[in-house]
């Protein structure tokens, strides 16, 4: 079921177009990656979903209803530009934000105590934010984002400013939130994390959506029929035998072992290549080269 849908959203600023007819669909209970180079319009789209700015054209639907102010309570938003009141105590501050999201003080207190316990920061309740390290502040910020148990969570560049340990922790949390039924949208440059956690993505470049769909399908779509073969044998013999149907991309020879990448052209199948290979020695491995998101990102953005 769709939890969020944007329909041909357009946003024009004085001197530049931030979004052109951007439509995305986010299914309930999935993790959705919003990708794109800097300045592509991701943050603008996220701000529109959070009702911080209004679109010039197009509509946004949450739970199949047109976006309305009450929906704010259903969304948890961790902006890219994030921070806390430095002079305020951690607990007081978390309570304040929870109440702004419509929780009662009592309910917020119970829930926060649990979260503080879970994140192992029980002792921080009465500390001032300025006494915490940057990483600790990020933890508090994360708790504030999820405190009101929203159906939809939006993280804008959640990994920026996190060290690898905290990054991993965050990733785990995001997956756990998904398992508990939340839907998550996050924008990121960290392509490795996209591959690890995202079910679907949309790629935005220069205000337009240029690519979207399931991660596994996009990867399939970007496969270019390249195979990696490792075998013990003679490379020269092998390369001399390649007809115009095959294109050698690269080769590495180590002692007896040869590693080659071959692109199959025309209508030939990998089986043809494999049967050809049988003549040149002992085959150790035969794999299709599947592009990673990093390559897909660069390819899609540059090719556009």
């Amino acid at each position: 079921m769709e939890i969020l849908k944007t329909n041909k959203v357009v946003k024009q600023f004085e001197n530049h177009r931030a979004l052109t007819d951007v439509s995305i669909n986010v299914d309930e209970g999935t993790i959705f990656g919003l990708l794109g180079p800097n300045g592509a319009g991701k943050t603008t789209l996220i701000r529109i979903i959070n009702q911080i700015t209004a679109p010039d054209e197009g509509e946004v639907f949450l739970f199949n209803e047109k976006l309305k102010p009450e929906h704010i309570k259903n969304i948890g938003y961790l902006p890219e530009e994030r921070g806390l009141y430095k002079k305020m105590k951690v607990g007081e501050q978390a309570l304040y934000f929870a109440q702004l999201k419509g929780m009662t003080k009592g309910a917020a207190k119970i829930r926060l105590k649990n979260l503080f316990e879970k994140f192992d920061i029980n002792g921080w309740w009465d500390k001032k934010v300025e006494e915490l390290s940057k990483g600790m502040q990020q933890k508090v910020q994360f708790i504030i984002t999820i405190v009101h148990e929203p159906d939809l969570l939006i993280f804008d560049e959640p990994f920026s400013g996190f060290d690898p340990i905290n990054s991993d922790l965050l990733k785990k949390e995001i997956i756990e939130l998904k398992e508990n039924g939340a839907t998550i949208i996050f924008s990121t440059h960290n392509m490795a994390s996209v591959e690890e956690v995202c079910d679907n993505i949309a790629l935005i470049n220069k205000s337009k959506k240029i690519l979207d769909g399931k991660v596994s399908e996009i990867k399939k779509q970007f496969k270019s029929n390249i195979f990696e073969i490792v075998f013990d044998g003679n490379f020269n013999q092998f390369s001399a035998s390649l007809t115009a149907d095959y294109k050698l991309i690269e080769h590495i020879q180590k002692n007896q072992t040869v590693q080659v990448k071959v692109k199959i052209q025309n209508e030939l199948s990998p089986n043809d290549l494999l049967s050809k290979m049988l003549n040149f020695g002992k085959i150790i491995s035969f794999n299709e080269v599947i592009p990673n998101m990093h390559d897909i990102f660069i390819k899609a953005v540059n090719g556009n």
Binding site: E14, I52, I75, E81, R82, Y85, K86, K87
Partner: protein
Amino acid sequence: MNNILLILKREYLTRVKKKSFIIMTIVGPVLMAALFIAPVWFAMMEDDAQKVISVYDETGTYRSAFTDSENLKFNFTEETDREKREDSFLKSGNYALLTIYDKNPDEYVLFSEKTPDISVKEQVSGRIEGFIEAENFKRLGISKNQIDSAKTEIYLETYTISEAGIEKSSAEVPLMIGFAAAIIIYMFIFLYGVQVMRGVIEEKVNRVVEVLISSVKPFQLMAGKIIGIAMVALTQFLLWGILTLFIVGFVYFSFGADIMPQNIDAGQFQNISSEQAEQILGNSFAADTILGFVNFNWTTTIISFLIFFIGGYLLYASLFAAIGSAVDNETDTQQFMLPVTIPLILAFVASQGIIRNPDGAMAFWFSIIPLTSPIVMPIRVALERYEIWELVLSGSILILSFIASVWLAAKIYRTGILMYGKKVSYKELWKWLRYR
């Protein structure tokens, strides 16, 4: 609405709990009270030990001028040699040495080891002047009584006259109250308007603002902040008032009536004439002042004070909030602060002239323009020098303009708080106003 209350509460509580607020609240009235009490205190503390002054009188005629008093004692010396005389003065440890030389006219010199007290200097010269005057009267054949009876001093009684009747008026009391109102409004707008601006900048610098406005509308955030800070200011004023009364009361009961005006129950002055009041007080200026306070038009003044106070604060605070949202840090505020603060300062400076001429063209225009009327109009109301239509016009313009400024500021604010790392120009602000 609920969100505005939450924001208001946070803004209020974090500020009221600050150490600087508590210190200012306590120190303010102490300083204020000290300002009133210190001069009296010092006067009372004046050194009353008797000082000895050596007198060398070359003419030999002034002896009768120098009779000993409670704090001055005079020793006469006949030593004609100057050096010896000065030596023996230094050895004697006396306070000062007065020398009167026989010249035409006589020359008077006071020597002392340290710079002499003003009061000693005045007393000594007073003795000499009194002595010479008395001699002159004698020479001219007139008595001091004759001179005194020729001199005169009058006290000008002032009344206001209207169809309702004649009422005792005091020119000083409305002036004091009007000016006090102007100072309070000026201070309030300046101190707390700037606090609004700082608060907005703080939220921008801390990057907390986007987290906030994903939960609340920018307008709610701005409104909560402005009202919350207004309440901080009101709290401070209230505490200052109470503490000042408390301190003054404490001083009064500890040191008694000798340093305070006589204990007067204002109630007894209602509906009495100035003659009767004078009988009680024995002083027509004090009587007029007290009658002035009693007869002062408190209701109109307080109501219009509150309207102009709140209207002026909201107008300026919203402008300050807009400035805060447009910049990244406080140093960048200068170019926008100037056009906002100039009318405020101008109104304050002009109010001193307006007090002298509250019906003039300047007074009129300053009380109509909404950026200056919060300071100028209360003065005119206190002085009762305004037409009803002027008050209504000025008040309505102020209310309309603060609604407009809050609306415009909210638009700038909405865009500005999410804008980082950009030097903002007036042209840019104009664009923001037109964003949807």
